[in-house]
Each structure stands twice: as structure tokens, then as C-alpha cells.
Subunit: 143 residues, 4 copies
């Protein structure tokens, strides 16, 4: 993560405030665990409201928390007052998303004025055999 | 859609049953609108529980309904008794996802024993200027 | 394609000139077939120089011509003097890429000042059973 | 890379043989640098035949070597006699691909009987400021 320039000294507060205003994240029960320079970690306790038909977390929900983790990692390097917009993302599923919770960690690969590229990993917690269950690549832009 | 072979005569019932068992879809209020050979349409009425910080539907929720529409389009061509597993998907966002509801339509591009490739389009409804707000490409497999 | 605004009246000449300066395209023998508003068609005659180990066109070469078709479709809507930069693309392979030639058609899905989203389809020609062998989604930006 | 099971004791020879039969790779001058368990490194000396209009390596060529590096990383874990088929890949471009050569390193994230997921990184060499210029996520299958 070396070499990243922080342009918004209050990025942690701004990200926490943005997070708290997202109905979708409150609804599914996602929690903001860590925000750092070019990095963000979310936690999603697993409950009925995020499950698919086989009792695992729905892939779309896994994508959602990966998207958010990558997006806030990007936003930590934005100018003050900039909000975050996802341009696109791609997710590969590696294993069933079970256990007590999922942890999504987003990291910035390249930060630019116009475009930021991130990667995110989603891991299972408390599943008996914890592992990475999904990986994402994402493009974001300030808005 | 010509040329698709239906292997499961009760694919409509099986998909409806699978849909009804997905906690995530019930909780966000998604509705199964149409299921056809190699095609599936979902509807997501827009409410606080799917919004992001600017009042539009969260991109991850848009991804979720696109993923489901593509997945059930794929499942319509599976053998009886086969469930659906998403291998990966990729989504591009084209416009803010506002209005009264989103409609996601998935279509099969290629159906194989091992792998099915789909595309999905998500459109806004009742936004004053309805349009496609996201497109997806997806790979599924029977499980 | 309705509704696209042409900002560069000589987009056809500019795209032809840009194409002619791409060593990679000349070396693999790609040909610029059609350039229209928000649309571009390329042709790749199949020869040893684009094949993989089983005698089909290498997936990476299929990706390359899809990327170019999408990129020039985007560039047709750019301001005069703007070159094209691919931000990212994603390709799904649907069938082996055999026959006499491949034809790649790119189309703009959304054109913006900052970002353009395209889709591209690659079809086989002269394979005895012509069909779409790959689909792409791509993001471009003017540079 | 721990935990990967090698099923084909002569995977190195088989991959080298497969590589040598790919017209596209010989034509662009790609070289197989390293093959290991779940890992593969390629080198592409930069010349006119892989360039785009601005004098950098064409993004499609960057995608091609990333695809190959990921694919052979996957093949190192296949059963004897299995060839490799790319299901899909996605590439994000991080920086212009200039310098003397590109080095693509593919690594397996998840290896399964049916599907293997890899990631690949492409770096510049001899550009004065070497760095990662592209990242890929890929799905492969034995054929």
C-alpha cells in the first residue's frame, strides 16, 4: 500500500458517515470493521436475510459486500467531498459462503484522478474450514 | 432462443420453488415475474432496504437481481433435480438505478452440460426516464 | 443506436488512421470492415499466427479483436482528437473459434464524457456451423 | 500454493509441449519462463508486432499473455492427458504496457475437478519505472 497519497484527512469519518446512510447495508446487517489508506474491511454476520436456497450466503450478497469493501478502499484516497461510484465489478466464487460471518477486504491496486482499480477478497468465518470464498476486481470513480 | 432443449418439463415449478426458498430474495422483496425456456424476468420494487447513500439502488443489489435472473434462465435448461450454482459474473453500471422498481431479464447465450453462459439486463421502471441501468455476463453450472 | 451524438465528423477517417498504426493488428492480419455511429466491425482471417494448440483461434486473440471492435465503436462517439484507452474488458467463450475467419462486432451501450461501455460479439465464418464464439463487455475512456 | 495436489507428474513437459504448439504464442514471440505447481510465468519481449497506436503493447496482447499464464498455472494441477480450455477472463489495465518486455505470472486460486480459478498479474520490465500494468481473473476447465 506504500506510495498512496491521502487527499482527504477525514476519510475515515466520511466513509463511516457514507456507510451509515446506506439502507442496503443496514438492512443486511453489514458492519464496517476497518478503514485504512487504500484498504477497507467489512463484516457480514450470516442470517436468513442473506441466504440462498441451499443455506449459504447468496452470491449476489457476497458480491455486494465485496463491492462495498473495494469501493470504500478506493474512497479513502479520494479528494474531500467526493462520493464513490462503482463503474463495474467482476466476481469469481471459490467456495460456498457459510459459517458465522463473512469478512470482505478491499484493497486499491491503482488510484487515479479519474479511475481507481481495486481487488477484494471475501472470507468465511466460523465455518469450521475458513477460507477465501470469492475474489473480485472492480473499477470505481469519484462522483 | 430457438434450439434450446428443455430437459426438465417442470422447470417452471422447480424454479418457483427454489426462488421461494431464498431468504435473501424474500427479504429484499424480489418477485419472480416470468420464467421461460432460457429466459427469466425478476422485479425488485425499490425501497429503503436496497438503497445506497445517494438514494439509488445499491450496485450490489442490482448485481444480485441480475445474477438471479441469469441463474434461473440457465436453470430452465438443466436436467430435472439440478440446482444452480453461479461460477462468476461481471456487471457494468450504465445509469443510476432509480424509480419505482427494477426489472432484471436474464437470457441464456450458450447452454452446455457443464457450463451455461448467460447475459442479463437490468432496467429501471417508473423513473421518468426508463432505461437499461446495468448489464451482466455470467457463467453458471448445475450442482 | 438511436440517440447517439456524433462529436467528431471525421470519426471514420480517424479510426481508419488509428487502426493502420497498430502494429499488433497489422501483424495478425485484422481488417477494419465497417465503422458506424457507435458500432465497429472487424474481420480476422484465420491463419497459423493466431492459433492455439488445438487448431482454433487462441482465446487471447479472440479477446484482442473483441477489444478493438468495442474500442473503435466507442471512439466513433468521442470528441475530435481523442484517442481510445481500454479500462477493462471481460470475455466469455461460447464455442471453439474455427473456420475461415472471425468477425467481431462492437456496439456502444452507453456513451459518456468520461466512460463508455460497450459490448462485442465474435462470430465464426466458414466453419460449417457459424455461430457466436465469444461475447465481451468493455469499459473505455478517451485519452 | 500449499495444499495443491499434483496429479500429472510430467506437467512441466506437457505444458512446454502444449506451449510449443501454439502458433499465436510463437508468432508474438512469447517465452515460457517458469512452470511450477499452480503457477506459471511467461515473458513477452516487446516489438512492433504486439504494439498499439501509441507505442505501448496492445491491451489485447496483454490479455493474451495473462490468459496463457493463468491457463498453464491451472493445467499444472490437471490430470495427465488433460488439455486446458479458458471459460472466461477479465482484465483491468493499471498502467501503460511499455519497456523491454512484459512478464505475466499466473497463479491458481482454487483448483477443482471441473473448474479452476486463477489470477494473473502482468508487469513491465525495463520501462524505467517497472510496475504491474494489468491484473486478470480467469476461469479454466480441463478438456
Amino acid at each position: 500500500m506504500t506510495g498512496f497519497i491521502v487527499r482527504n484527512p477525514s476519510f475515515r469519518e466520511d466513509i463511516a458517515r457514507s456507510f451509515a446512510r446506506q439502507g442496503a447495508l443496514l438492512f443486511i446487517g453489514a458492519e464496517l470493521d476497518e478503514v485504512d489508506v487504500g484498504r477497507c474491511v467489512l463484516r457480514l454476520p450470516i442470517g436468513e436475510r442473506v441466504l440462498q436456497q441451499q443455506g449459504f450466503v447468496h452470491g449476489g450478497m457476497v458480491g455486494l459486500i465485496g463491492d462495498v469493501a473495494g469501493g470504500y478502499a478506493a474512497m479513502s484516497l479520494f479528494d474531500p467531498g467526493c462520493d464513490i461510484l462503482t463503474v463495474e465489478y467482476k466476481i469469481n466464487f471459490l467456495a460456498p459462503a457459510g459459517g458465522d460471518a463473512l469478512v470482505a477486504e478491499g484493497r486499491v491496486l491503482r488510484s487515479g484522478r479519474k479511475l481507481t482499480v481495486t481487488t477484494a477478497e471475501v472470507r468465511t468465518v466460523g465455518s469450521g474450514r475458513d477460507r477465501v470464498c470469492a475474489v473480485l476486481q472492480q473499477t470505481c470513480t469519484p462522483s
